[in-house]
Amino acid sequence: MHEWSLAEAVISTVIEASKGEGLEEITKIKVKIGELQQVDTEIFKFALDEIAKDQGTSLLRTMKIEIRTEKAIFRCRVCKNEWTFDDLFDIDEDKLEAIHFAPEVAHVYVRCPLCKSPDFEVVQGRGVLIDSIKGIGTGKETKGR
């Protein structure tokens, strides 16, 4: 599953970042995932836990993972109309799977519901972001936004 490769990216980034911050134990990470990624959060969470375990490091032993899905909002560049995923009716499974792998291909399958333009921007709800990493370091507690 493609969730696993994103999870692997998250864990590897967290480990890297913790080095820079001098963290000895990461207590919590917050991950934001765009709805456009069409990620199965159950699988994603499971993958994150498994990959964290596999690292065999005490750094991640007590790490809690909070996942937040950000709703996708599209805005038409031509008529300025805004819409969400829920407004799209004509998207079948195959198209959703393609979008899941490469979210930008939404431009192939999604049209502005008002003026039918494919020229829209994804205002929010794409990509994967690590919002914050909290941990116990050499004396200091670091906290994200």
């Binding site: 980034t13 020229d119 994967v128």
Partner: protein, 251 residues
Amino acid sequence: MGMVIDPRLNIIDKRLYSIKRLIGVSGGKGGVGKSLIATVLALTLSRLGYHVGLLDLDLSAPSAHVILGIESVYPKEEKGIVPPVVHGIEFMSIVYFTGDGPAPFRGIDISNAMLELLAITRWGSLDFLIVDMPPGIGDAMMDVIRWMKRVEFLIVTTPSKVALETVKKVIKLLTELKFPIIGVIENMKIRESSLVKDELKKVAVPILGEIGFDMKIEDSIGDVNKLLESCFAVEMREIVLKSPEFKLQLK
């Protein structure tokens, strides 16, 4: 940590770690033969016994699958995406996901799509990853430079002042940024002319060789065996074999 981090950026180096050499096939202008050269180069190296991948980064106008004649092939999902092996090469293209629909991408979409593809594609152990690039200095080139730090470039031009004008700029930029340039291939040569040699005298980039205009190439597009027997491929193979820049250790 007070910063929002995109974890996909972090994983790209790891995804490319098992690849010995990354070669971006680039050029100043459109239609000079980059895709044909990238594809035939990949096939040639593969037939010489190397493990080769081909990545089509022309996201708006992918062509390598047409040259390879690929139909109904799909990548496997396995903790990421494993590119299918077609005609002996690991092949990755956005076309698996766009099908034959047009992809009206803006620059930001190109960057995002590229980031996603680089982050999720799990290449095998490769001697070469050949990257087919869109023309000129655009989003794809800037992103390849930004994210594929070990990339070397193979530059394609035709013997035309029009093409060379931009090729020189591409070479200048890559030289300024200290990216290695394997060399220049002069494609679609129809008559003797020293134009390319003269024009590139001032830049320290080897001209690897020339490929003549192949009247019959169109009949071989989509048929790999025919393609490899074409005059085009024979000339490409000669260039690969005689250029020390490819550092081949023939098996």
